[in-house]
Symmetry: C2
Subunit: 357 residues, 2 copies
């Protein structure tokens, strides 16, 4: 068991100083060719690699970025992570993951755990509980400590930072427009409670589409699901609620759901009620995940391009980190002139499949 070798050990072994070894390895021409060769050979032989922690301490930057998301067993979030990891890796960064589990407290604990030097910046999506409480002090606190944050998907105006979101509003408009143009006379909506910002926006998009067509939305055609109780484990409840909804609104011939689970479940329920998809009822969901792709019939969805979101978020963060860097060199500044924060909007795209005509 050969423990990793350090500069000091190389130095002792070769009877030179630590500084000489360091310089030789970085190819400084301060060191003679002979010694350089000797040292490099030795280092290669013992597979020397500089210790990351020591470098982090010295450089006061860790080259790792922290991801903080509500849940990882979730197609959308995992695609975002994949996107982040991709550009992070390409740009020489590592990625450390924290899970809030939709809990306010766990979000805070995780942030504090990571904010103490372990990472250079955050990429996060706010937990539902935090959204509900509207308590954002922990975000402000870490930003004030000089640690940049990039928020994605579930963002909030109260926090000043870079953001990357999907145009939930327009996406919803497009989806509902499509249904209306496909000759649906009664387009219903299945959505979440309003405190989840994205649910709210998608609902507004639904309403806007009606308005654009000079139609009036019927409140009875809107089903709000309370997903405070974990839906995944209470599928029957969800199904029952949707069945009830569909039965009491038999005229529904088009359906827009704010996530794919609702959409797929609705299709399932519709089929059980003897409705044909898409002949009797057309369905569009939001979030293009596995379910949409593999459902029967496969589901037309509004794609969020999670991976792209992740990539953009990572680029935003790293850009800012490296800008700070360069800046710090020049004038050691407390320039409080508010730097502009960027809000990137990723365009949605409707992926047409079998659940619409």
């Amino acid at each position: 068991m050969k423990k990793k070798i350090t500069l000091k050990q190389i130095a002792k072994e070769l009877d030179v100083s630590v500084s000489t070894v360091s310089k030789a390895l970085s190819g400084s021409k301060e060191i003679s060719e002979d010694t350089t060769q000797k040292i490099q050979a030795f280092a290669k032989l013992y597979n020397y690699k500089p210790n990351n922690i020591a470098l982090s301490l010295k450089n006061r930057k860790t080259k790792t970025i922290g991801i903080l998301i509500p849940e990882i067993v979730h197609h959308f979030f995992s695609t975002v992570i994949r996107g982040i990891e991709r550009v992070a890796n390409r740009r020489g960064y590592n990625v450390i993951v924290g899970l809030s589990n939709e809990s306010f407290t766990k979000e805070i604990i995780n942030m504090e755990m990571l904010a103490n030097g372990s990472i250079d910046g955050f990429i996060l999506s706010i937990s539902k509980e935090t959204l509900l409480k509207q308590d954002y002090h922990h975000f402000h606190a870490t930003i004030n400590q000089g640690m940049p944050i990039v928020m994605f998907d579930r963002v909030v105006d109260e926090v000043e930072c870079d953001k990357v979101i999907v145009d939930d509003f327009i996406g919803a408009v497009k989806a509902v427009n499509k249904l209306i143009e496909n000759n649906c006379k009664n387009v219903a909506l299945i959505t979440t409670m309003d405190y989840v910002s994205v649910g709210k926006l998608r609902t507004q998009g639904y309403l806007k589409a009606f308005e654009d067509h000079g139609m009036e939305a019927n409140p009875n055609m809107i089903l709000k699901i309370d997903d405070s109780l974990n839906v995944e484990n209470h599928l029957e409840l969800l199904e029952a609620e949707i069945a009830q909804f569909l039965k009491s609104n038999p005229s529904i011939d088009g359906l827009f759901a704010v996530n794919e689970l609702y959409a797929v479940t609705a299709m399932k329920v519709a089929k059980k009620l003897g409705l044909k998809v898409p002949d009797d009822i057309q369905v569009i969901g939001f979030t293009d995940g596995v379910l949409s792709k593999h459902a029967t019939p496969s589901l037309t969805t509004v794609s969020q391009h999670g991976q792209k979101m992740g990539e953009q978020a990572a680029n935003l963060l790293i850009d800012r980190l490296e800008a700070e860097d360069a800046e710090g060199q020049q004038y050691f500044t407390n320039n409080d002139e508010k730097r502009d924060f960027i809000k990137l909007v990723i365009e949605t795209e409707i992926i047409e499949r079998e659940s619409t005509k």
Copy 2:
């Protein structure tokens, strides 16, 4: 923008030495009550938190564990991560994630990137390409450097380390047994190429079940999919292959697939061919993911308990890390008496749904 405060700054501010501050904060009774109080108050006021990197360097351990998996947009792997994160967090560890993307090279790069001090140990699942190449030198190398590895799911005998796997073999046997006992006369198998160890084991389980029932397996009833080309993006190909398979074997009335995608796709194809599930053909998959749960009909599957695997893996790793620790204290040893490596087997469980009778 208040940058994080350090011991040194506190010391200067309060006109004491750094050591005094450190001791006071840790409640050492070497320091008088007065000064302790003063220092603690000041520290709390400025929200002092020790710098993790500095601690890591000093203690020569980072309290973070590295996860290296082939893919993250994958229900099984993300449940495993969730499990790891759960116990890691509970036991005071962080989690850093690397993605190999099923690539041998990326696996190596990622390992090297993390092995240089960033983490205390690995939890990983081997990439397909590595499995194919059968080149495990990078695992041996990092183990030799004294960094423990725990492998899960895709493991390999050639590497000596802790492992946690699912009883793929028995799981498959159970599944096929169930089909046979449900009166299927011709149970088919859809599997992967043999180099993916789990696919191989599940195939063997299929064969064993036949043997147990005194039946002979028919090679024509086994479809081996070459998933070297990314199946997710070539769904039509997969469907075509399965359709061809089902058509040329019309007697099939039971089907076991080594993953849920194959199973769900097979159900889809079967339905298109006019077969009723489960009346004409019963289907069981492996891996209990979203697809299984939400397919219509919902899919009976062999559950792998990914979260549990993750939890166990994390516990194994941390146990070993902390054992090393305690040991290192006592005798500064190169005790090469081989420490026993543990291989945990997580029991599978058949989750019955609508695709079987």
